[in-house]
């Protein structure tokens, strides 16, 4: 595989430079988070820094109303979390938009005094939390759960406009709080994990192996999957599988209801949604429904499971994963001794009690996929009243207003501004659609590709390893010769598999994956989890040892290679590929 002589290092942002964030809107001071900087369009100065496309969390672009939630989450939440926890090398993340698509950058701390001051603060803040993480997380989880109890049980349809407006403001306040909790916990756990990682390297183990020492704990998502498989099995035993494997999800439910036993199944499905359905498909996206509103993702998963001749033995898979984990821990223990072994045992115990690999999955159900649902519900309820009052044409028009615009018009009670706002909505809808179509063709990174990245989160979660950056610095068109192409990445879950590739760029297309295919994608999140029960192997452009795909592949016992940088570019749906999860290679056999 040839490397071009003079590799391009800058992917210019110039094409994406804008003054306005959307037609008719500039990010105002009022919306600016106080720590480091709000979500903005690119400016030319951004060519000096690196920017990673975050298709992991936001694959289809952001409508105007989602800018405020993005601001509160990955921008403000990360910055405040890093500030309060006192993470020494980073002040959190900052976001830019290319059109409507999210790129993430980091803010390095580069003066020695600040590093020292943060280090002192960090020790004081993190130590007591790690000493009793169970109690600490329980407390935070209870706070979030109590808020959902409140918001989920509000009768929005019976509210006056003033009450709805109050509810919407409460929902925004809660969302912001949820994201502070998110980043506070994340940075605390990151430190624990990275200490273990560095210790492992110091005593002669593979640092990347420590995440597999921490696997095997059940999460809300593994339980969701088990329930989906159970529902698939129930459908099969009731003879409903034919009705669930054709047509649109809405048709599926209508056909199932009409069959004998169908009502029983639908009642079970509704009971499932009541527990597991308070989740949307993407983070911060006000425009995406929860499963309760639109259960299509759950129905597609069930249809996918029914395409396999047998069920999935979760107990066996989990047992095997735990045995594998225990065997790896035993092997690690055998290879070190004396005080190294004692330190290994203490670091392992600390990480088992405060387990990033587990939390990285589990928290999504309390934060990432749920925190914006109260805002969505209140927004749509308010939108319905405004539609009735003739202010807007449709409740979903609300998605095309920015939060500061909405706050201004609602707080001032002025009706004149509604006409101006409503007039911009068609343009903004078109703008969103334009960029949604362009999404898959946007570069993985923009700006100056660095040699290394200091922020550990960017390495272990987003996968910005040295190899990843080096691959991106090559010219992909010139870099690969004829014959069998081999792509390298991070060896995330062992095993070898050969099969037909299915390249997916957005979670919305996940239902097209067929049993026995090799999934090739940018990266996966919890929404992708059900697919792991039917695929042969998984290959991702992004990701490191802590990535969702790595963790879930180990639980399902399939090979996985992440952080390849170029898999979705180099592999086409239908290609035959051979994935070696131990070597971290993917061969494209044509």
């Amino acid at each position: 595989m040839a490397v071009s002589a003079d590799p391009p290092r800058v992917f210019p942002v110039d094409d994406f430079v804008r003054e306005e964030l959307y037609p008719g809107y500039r990010q105002a001071f009022g919306s600016q988070p106080f720590v480091a900087g709000p979500v903005r369009p690119f400016s030319l100065a951004d060519n000096e820094r690196y920017w990673l496309r975050d298709s992991l969390h936001f694959s289809e672009g952001m409508v105007p109303a989602s800018i405020a939630t993005l601001d509160d989450a990955q921008t403000w939440g990360a910055q405040l979390g890093a500030e309060i926890v006192g993470v020494p090398p980073t002040r959190g993340s900052v976001n830019r938009l290319a059109g409507t698509h999210v790129y993430i950058g980091t803010i390095d701390v580069d003066t020695q005094w600040q590093v020292q001051a943060r280090a002192a603060r960090f020790g004081q803040y993190v130590s007591p939390i790690l000493a009793d993480f169970g109690s600490y997380w329980s407390m935070r989880a209870a706070e979030l759960t109590a808020a959902y109890e409140y918001f989920d049980h509000l009768d929005l349809a019976a509210m006056s406009p003033a009450e709805l407006w109050t509810t919407l403001k409460d929902a925004y306040a809660f969302h912001r709080r949820a994201w502070f909790i998110h980043f506070e916990v994340m940075y605390v756990l990151t430190a624990n994990y990275l200490a273990f990682y560095a210790l492992a390297e110091e005593i002669g183990l593979q640092g990347s192996s420590v995440s597999s020492f921490l696997s095997g704990q059940q999460t809300f998502y593994s339980r969701t999957d088990e329930e989906l498989w159970r529902l698939a099995g129930l459908a099969r035993s009731l003879g409903l599988d034919g009705a669930l494997t054709q047509g649109s999800p809405a048709d599926m439910l209508i056909r199932v209801r009409a069959l004998p036993g169908g009502a029983t199944w639908v009642a079970e499905f509704d009971a499932f949604l009541a527990v597991y359905g308070q989740r949307s498909e993407e983070t911060c996206r006000i425009d995406t429904p929860s499963w309760i509103e639109d259960p299509s993702p759950a129905l597609y998963s069930i249809a996918g499971f029914l395409a396999k001749p047998t069920g999935f033995d979760f107990h066996a898979a989990r047992s095997a994963a735990m045995l594998e984990r225990d065997a790896q821990i035993d092997a690690a223990r055998r290879s070190v001794n004396g005080s190294d072994l004692a330190r290994f045992n203490q670091a392992l115990a600390s990480n088992q009690a405060a387990n990033f690999a587990w939390w990285n999955e589990e928290h999504n159900y309390l934060i990432d996929r749920r925190a914006a649902i109260p805002i969505r519900r209140a927004t749509l309820a308010l939108g319905a009243q405004l539609t009735d009052a003739g202010r807007i044409a449709d409740p979903s028009d609300m998605f095309y207003l920015f939060k500061p615009e909405l706050f201004e018009v609602m707080e001032s009670g002025g009706s004149g501004r509604w006409a101006d706002l409503a007039a911009m909505i068609p343009d903004r809808r078109a703008y969103f659609e334009h960029w949604r179509e362009r999404g898959p063709s946007l570069p993985t990174m923009l700006g100056t590709i660095p040699d290394t990245v200091p922020d550990p989160i960017m390495i272990e979660v987003f996968g910005l390893s040295g190899h990843f950056l080096e691959t991106l610095r090559r010219d992909p068109a010139a870099g690969f010769g004829t014959g069998v192409v081999e792509i390298r990445g991070f060896p995330a879950a062992k095993g070898v598999a050969e099969g037909v590739a299915r390249v997916i760029t957005t979670v919305g297309d996940l239902h097209t994956v067929q049993p026995g295919e090799v999934l090739v994608c940018g990266g996966t999140t919890t929404e992708w989890t059900p697919a792991f029960g039917i695929i042969l192997a998984c290959v991702c452009d992004t990701g490191g040892s802590l990535t969702h795909a790595a963790i879930v592949s180990r639980e399902y016992g399939i090979p996985c290679v992440v952080g390849t940088a170029v898999a979705t570019t180099m592999i086409k749906t239908g290609d035959r590929v051979r994935v070696d999860g131990r070597a971290g290679t993917v061969q494209v056999l044509g």
């Binding site: 020790g123 993190v126 527990v275 107990h315």
Partner: protein, 371 residues
């Protein structure tokens, strides 16, 4: 099997004693012994090892042989395990045994006064399980909330098939030595399901340090499954053995509980989010904690070795009538190595410098000068 042997194939728990372990497995034998010496246990019956020996039809046996004729590891062994379990679960018990189980079930329904509403736990009780040398806990399945003789029969077969889980197969490879096709020595217990308000485990020593001066209780609301399977951060108490004083308590971290699945016919349990008003509340009173510890210590004294004891507190009954003992087994981690009495554990922290993840991260991850 002779008619005489057939008549002993299913036995009521009241007739079971410790010496019956080779026939009903140690789990059921200990429970029968416990009941006979006055502890409150759920009523039930056991299907003996002899009754289940060789029940699998010859065609299914040869199919199993074929499956396991090639060694397999990793995902292949998972598939193998799945195929074996499906094959076994597709078979039916012989009709004489089905009749004997139905009779025993009818007797139990009458004794408990529950009639058709009777819900039971179907528990694997393997001979060679829970040995002192190594813990076989969890090699075979237990099914809760099973209703009616037909479902009981189906779950007996499932228990038997669970001996072919990947976990159990691997375990046998590592500790059993004789490969996947060695016959199961499996008995099955069928016990009335306690309608548990709260349930959990008591350890007659501190399972982390091995300190025998303390007992530890872990518990959650609802059925004990969430605690036993480690799916919840349970409420936690340590109790001083000599004084019965509660030394430590950690409550309020519970997010989920195990409850019976709402779909009656299928049975089983589900893990559901815990209602908010229960999440923060301790699931046992101090009196309950102390009572459970006293009884666990008495069981330990009778057995002559540290035990872990599973128990449940029946809804709507008062202490002490509310407390049922479900099973107990020798505590295996510290059974051979535990310090004798209330002294601190032998493992000396002075032997190695303590590992502080925060300081280590500052020095070796964030590389802050001077840390």
């Amino acid at each position: 099997m002779t008619d005489a042997a057939r008549s002993d194939a299913v036995v009521d728990l009241a007739a079971v004693r410790a010496a019956d372990a080779p026939a009903v497995g140690p789990k059921m034998a200990r429970l029968g012994q416990l009941a006979s010496t006055g502890w409150r246990v759920p009523d039930g019956y056991a299907i003996t090892v002899g009754a289940l020996e060789g029940w699998l039809p010859a065609t299914a046996r040869s199919e199993l042989h074929r499956l396991f004729s090639v060694p397999a590891t990793g995902p292949a062994s998972l598939r193998l395990s799945q195929q074996a379990r499906e094959l076994i679960e597709g078979q039916s018990l012989p009709s004489w045994l089905a009749d004997a189980v139905a009779d025993a079930h009818a007797r139990l329904a009458a004794r408990t006064g529950r009639g058709d509403a009777l819900l039971v736990a179907v528990r694997s009780s393997a001979v060679g399980e829970d040995g002192h040398a190594a813990s076989f806990a969890g090699q075979y399945e237990t099914y809760l909330g099973v209703s009616g003789p037909d479902e009981v029969l189906r779950h007996i077969v499932k228990c038997w098939a669970s001996g072919y889980s990947a976990h159990a197969l691997d375990y046998r490879r590592r500790f059993g030595g004789s490969g996947p096709l060695r016959a199961h020595d499996l008995a099955v217990g069928v016990l009335e399901l306690v309608d548990a308000r709260s349930a959990g485990v008591a350890f007659t020593l501190d399972p982390v340090t091995g300190d025998r001066g303390r007992l530890v209780v872990e518990a959650n609301w609802g059925l004990g499954e969430s605690v036993v399977s480690g799916q919840v951060t349970p409420d936690y108490w340590t109790v001083e053995r000599d004084s019965g004083r509660i030394l430590e308590r950690r409550t309020g971290g519970k997010l989920v509980w195990s409850v019976l699945a709402s779909s009656g016919e299928a049975g089983g349990t589900v893990l559901a989010p815990l209602p908010a008003e229960l999440a923060q509340a301790p699931c046992l009173t101090d009196d309950e904690v102390r009572y459970i510890c006293r009884q666990a210590a008495a069981i330990e004294a009778a057995e002559g070795a540290p035990q872990d004891v599973e128990w449940a507190i029946a809804r709507d009954l008062d202490l002490p009538d509310s407390v049922y003992f479900l099973q107990h087994r020798p505590e295996t981690t510290w059974a051979s190595a535990a310090p004798e009495s209330g002294a601190a554990p032998a493992a000396s922290p002075a032997a190695a410098p303590a590992f502080d993840p925060v300081q280590y991260a500052l020095r070796n991850v964030f590389k802050v000068p001077g840390t």
